[in-house]
């Protein structure tokens, strides 16, 4: 029994690191951020060549059949390079929903297309966590009515997976009659979310839907958001250390002042143990079902707190430059901010964790 990444996992992470370093440098991210609700097709095609969209999908359906820990260390790299790609919904939450709740026919129809990187799959589960703005959809006979907010990977989706207010999951096609769509613009321009409004829209239920299936899709999403924050936070620390080693004031590099060094040490001390928590939470999704939900809550809430601390502190280490658009540090700041708010903020997630342990009525 080892608590470490395997050699294969290190290689996987390195290959994704190299891919993003070469193909998604900051100037490309800036361009993509100007078109948030447009899928970066060539970058996604490159990721597809690495097998990324199908990493969780079984080999029978053309995927790689890997586990959540593999997905988490890949998404960590996406966070590290603020990659403007539809990974969370398309490569993680949608395939998981289809695998848990879909019929064989639905799986055969959609999973190979996702695995090949041919389609984008949006996921609407926000209202299963908390309802705002009177959102939520009711299922009728083969139809959905209502609205959903913060649909993940909303832009240019070829398929939406939508949770109704009774734990049912449904497939909805973007061209369906009675469906209207509206983009939601967030601080994070590297990922697209939006709203779907349903007026008697025809939808295909996933026949094995259950409250547990919806919850597991959310658990997986939470662990991925935690992994994204881990990668983004790690990069912010590295950028801070590098900047503090170059920037001079009072005749010294500012990194030689304890006031600055200690900020960096505090960031590293907070982030480093959370790496192990993300690993375990992702591992538990596959291997330790009894621990999975609680650990997904812990990973999500803890990385949200650590992420917020690292994001603001790293910005302070960069001084005025950190506050400008020139360095682009704000892309990481905003990525971490987005990760915190989606799929349940820390207070809400901790309340869930309390419920899971019988600590809340």
């Amino acid at each position: 029994m080892e608590f470490a990444l395997s050699e294969e996992q290190c290689l996987l992470q390195d290959s994704v690191r190299r891919f993003l370093e070469q193909n998604s440098p900051l100037d490309k991210v800036r361009l993509a951020a100007g078109n948030t609700h447009t899928v970066q097709r060539s970058l996604w095609a490159g990721a597809s060549e690495l097998g990324i969209p199908g990493m969780l999908i079984p080999e029978d359906f053309g995927g790689m059949g890997l586990g959540f820990l593999d997905a988490a260390i890949v998404y960590e790299m996406f966070g590290r390079y603020v990659a403007p790609l539809p990974f969370l919904g398309t490569a993680v939450m949608a395939p998981l929903a289809l695998m848990l709740a879909g019929s064989e026919a639905q799986q055969e129809k959609w999973l190979p297309k996702i695995a090949a990187g041919e389609i984008i799959a949006g996921v609407a589960v926000t209202e299963s966590i908390g309802v705002r703005e009177d959102a939520g959809v009711k299922a009728g006979k083969g139809t959905l009515t209502g609205k959903v907010l913060f649909v993940i990977d909303w832009a240019e989706a070829d398929l939406y997976i939508v949770a109704d207010s009774d734990h049912g999951l449904h497939l909805v096609l973007p061209g369906a009659k009675g469906l209207s769509r509206r983009a939601l613009d967030t601080i994070d321009k590297t990922r697209s979310v939006g709203e779907l409004v349903f007026d008697q829209v025809s939808a295909e239920p996933l026949p094995r839907s259950s409250a547990d299936a919806v919850a597991r899709v959310i658990d997986a999403g939470r662990v991925m958001l935690a992994a994204d924050t881990l990668g983004a936070g790690q990069m912010m620390i590295e950028k801070s250390v590098a900047y503090a080693g170059e920037r001079k004031q009072f005749g010294r590099v500012i990194g030689s002042f304890q006031a600055v060094k200690h900020l960096c040490a505090e960031m590293a001390a907070a982030l480093e143990p959370s790496r192990s928590l993300v690993w375990y939470a992702a591992h538990a999704l596959d291997e330790v079902p009894g621990d999975a939900r609680l650990m997904a809550c812990h990973a999500k809430s803890h990385l949200s707190e650590v992420g917020r601390f690292v994001a603001r502190t790293a910005t302070e280490v960069h001084g005025g430059m950190g506050f400008t658009d020139l360095l682009g540090l704000h892309y990481w700041f905003k990525r971490i901010g987005f990760d915190r708010q989606l799929l349940g903020g820390p207070e809400l997630v901790r309340l869930e964790a309390a419920h899971l342990q019988g600590w809340a009525a």
């Binding site: 608590f3 503090a244 060094k261 040490a265 590293a268 001390a269 143990p273 192990s276 309390a354 600590w359």
Partner: protein, 283 residues
């Protein structure tokens, strides 16, 4: 080694001195050579278990003319050696968890040195690594956390249990997530150690984070108890034998001892992140 492993020999550590805390390498306790012996004069402080120890491992200055890090040697000797006086050091907790140890012409055979003369600093750094690891024991933290969970199920205000108060409960779960991170970090360290790898930052952050987390666990317990949280000694209505207030105070000592939080941050930033060292003052 074997009697120590069997628990038959109790050791204490003679490192810190009144004038040498964070700057441990400036220590002044002298050992001069006289025939086949070292003769030791000076004072140590913060010496846990000195009052019951059989043996001491002790840093002494043997080469006063060398730079401070190169003039230190590491000696081991019996606490029954003539010339050693142990005085208990009462702390803010009201108890004497530490001692002061005074050496007056203490004669120790030259063969009691570990390593060579002037290499004591390197030997000491090896043991400090373990001290800092021990101060961050996740199992001990889990025990305290579980005691806090129990407390929150027992304590009530206006008939409401603390666990049913959403603000206290949120703080509890927040600490639980931090504890989970430290526990899995500990498992990661174990795997690295078993492979002979240096885990780098994952090890360097343990003392800083764990001592803070332990302190926060005690702080929440005190807050949960409200007015009862200030009770101490043998007071009526005292909870858990006063261990939460004792812990809150003693654990602040642990944040300071074994390398203060600020020294830990220097270590993390310099050794872990490769940031520049403090510029040396011109001599």
């Amino acid at each position: 080694m074997k009697p120590t492993l069997r628990g038959e020999v109790v050791w204490c550590q003679g490192y810190s001195e009144p004038g040498s805390g964070s700057d441990l390498a400036s220590l002044q306790t002298r050992a001069t050579v006289d025939g086949d012996d070292f003769v030791i004069n000076g004072q140590k402080i913060w010496t846990s278990t000195a009052h019951e120890a059989d043996m001491i491992f002790c840093l002494v200055r043997t080469e006063p003319d060398k730079p401070k890090h190169e003039g230190i040697s590491y000696l081991i000797f019996s606490m029954k050696t003539p010339g050693i006086e142990v005085r208990p050091l009462t702390t803010m907790t009201g108890h004497a968890e530490f001692n002061e140890v005074f050496f007056t012409d203490v004669r120790v055979p030259k063969t009691q040195i570990v390593g060579q003369r002037g290499q004591g600093w390197f030997v000491a750094n090896a043991t400090l690594k373990h001290e800092r690891g021990m101060l961050g024991d996740p199992v001990a933290m889990e025990t305290r956390f579980q005691a806090l969970v129990d407390l929150m199920h027992e304590e009530t205000v206006d008939g409401q249990r603390a666990i049913d108060n959403p603000i206290f409960r949120d703080r509890l779960v927040r600490l639980q997530a931090e504890l989970a991170a430290m526990k899995f970090n500990g498992l990661r360290l174990l795997t690295s150690a078993s492979k002979g790898e240096d885990p780098g930052l994952a090890r360097l952050i343990v003392k800083l984070q764990s001592c803070e987390l332990t302190h926060q666990i005690s702080a929440l317990a005190i807050d949960v108890m409200g007015e009862l949280g200030v009770l101490y000694d043998d007071s009526p209505y005292l909870r858990s034998h006063g261990s939460w207030q004792w812990g809150y105070m003693f654990q602040l000592g642990l944040i300071i001892g074994g390398g203060t939080a600020q020294i830990q941050k220097n270590i993390i930033s310099e050794r872990g992140l490769g940031m520049p060292r403090e510029p040396k003052l011109a001599k």
